[in-house]
Symmetry: C2
Subunit: 238 residues, 2 copies
């Protein structure tokens, strides 16, 4: 099974997704938020590309969530802090979510046969499901400000690590970028929170007083389920 790793949304081209399973990563914070919302009981999360799209999609009872420039959007119910979605408030509700990088990355990958959302919170479960789907895999690091984001690369390395563990090390091939991300994970796996705090995205969040978001997103394998794109909605799949 071939596992390609794309370093940021900008590097993604549609042809890479055909007949593949796409795994989208935006550790800080969209895919961490999506996994948290669904595991807290939200019925689904709908990724919207723009604020206008999000508002247009809203039906009675739906929650609007998301950020621009790392801040909650005016008039929305929630921002993009996963902790906001951990509460009972989301139970049974649809969440319409629009973020700068993560939801755009999900839209970019819709040509894939399957689309999963991965974060450090649910990396092992994602790796397991992706193997079970038996397609070649494209891991897309969303990145930030059109650049590589190290926390997404770390998560890509973690996914590859779990795929190799689950597969007894056999049959997983990756590209040069994937190998580099595996080394990054191997070298930093015991200092993940420190890496996130020192990342470009982490520093931006720290400046905005959102240290607790970084701590939250740095947890590993606390969620055993996977956001899976079904039509235009992400739903939980284990």
């Amino acid at each position: 099974m071939m596992v390609q790793v794309i370093s940021s949304v900008n590097e993604a081209c549609v042809a890479k997704f055909h007949h593949r399973t796409a795994i989208v990563i935006d550790v800080l914070r969209a895919t961490s938020t999506i996994a948290t919302a669904l595991s807290s009981g939200a019925s689904s999360v709908i990724p919207a590309e723009t604020v206008m799209d999000a508002k247009a999609l809203q039906r009675p009872g739906d929650l609007l969530g998301g950020e621009r420039f790392c801040r909650k959007i005016s008039g929305f119910d929630y921002g993009n802090s996963p902790a906001e979605y951990a509460a009972d408030a989301v139970k049974g509700r649809r969440v319409i979510l629009t973020t700068t990088n993560g939801t755009r990355a999900i839209h970019k990958s819709t040509r894939a046969e399957h689309v999963l959302a991965a974060s450090l919170l649910n990396a092992e479960a994602c790796a397991k499901l992706a193997l079970e789907l038996r397609r070649d895999i494209v891991i897309m690091c969303a990145g930030s400000h059109d650049e590589f984001a190290i926390e997404d690369g770390l998560c890509a390395g973690m996914l590859l690590h779990h795929m190799r563990c689950l597969n007894g090390g056999a049959g997983i091939e990756t590209d040069d970028f994937g190998v580099a991300m595996e080394s990054l994970y191997a070298e930093r796996r015991h200092r993940i929170e420190e890496l996130l705090m020192n990342s470009a995205s982490g520093k931006r969040l720290l400046k905005l007083g959102q240290k607790q978001d970084i701590e939250f997103c740095a947890r590993t394998n606390t969620i055993r389920e996977v956001p899976y794109l079904s039509g235009d909605q992400l739903v939980l799949r284990s």
Copy 2:
């Protein structure tokens, strides 16, 4: 001092080079070949973008070198194997060199204040000279086939490692991609030849029977001097 790392030629934009020192890396094989040719006594190496340009630049006594699809160009004196340039044959001669990625990367970086060519062979010397030049630094990994090449990323990590050692660890800042390449180097520094053999570029060279080139390019810090772009020629600087 800020050290940015660019993952492949495609990611380079001119604005990133202004007032900076650029360090261009194409471990397999252009910058390894350039360092070898100059340290073997070639008077200069002129990077040419095309085969036509190379031929037009040739004056009596000059050597023509380079590759297309990893093979020597018809009618040229040498290919792109560094070992070809280790002989007395190059002593006192100008070498006109055209390669698929490395010479293109050098041309892309000419807006920089200073341009150096780095490889594993001379990484420590490059790091030292770049610090002495007292400008912010852009490390450009040439990559291969418009994609990231892990051997170039490893060399970027090695450069950062040496910069930190030389500077007593102080004053060197890098971006997320640079941090990831430092981890790659830290994790793989004792298995460099194995990494090169298993890289995409390495596998292509192995198929063409050029294993000895990979072994040659995997040596570290055997050359204490640096190819430095002066006008349109690379000359030796220590």
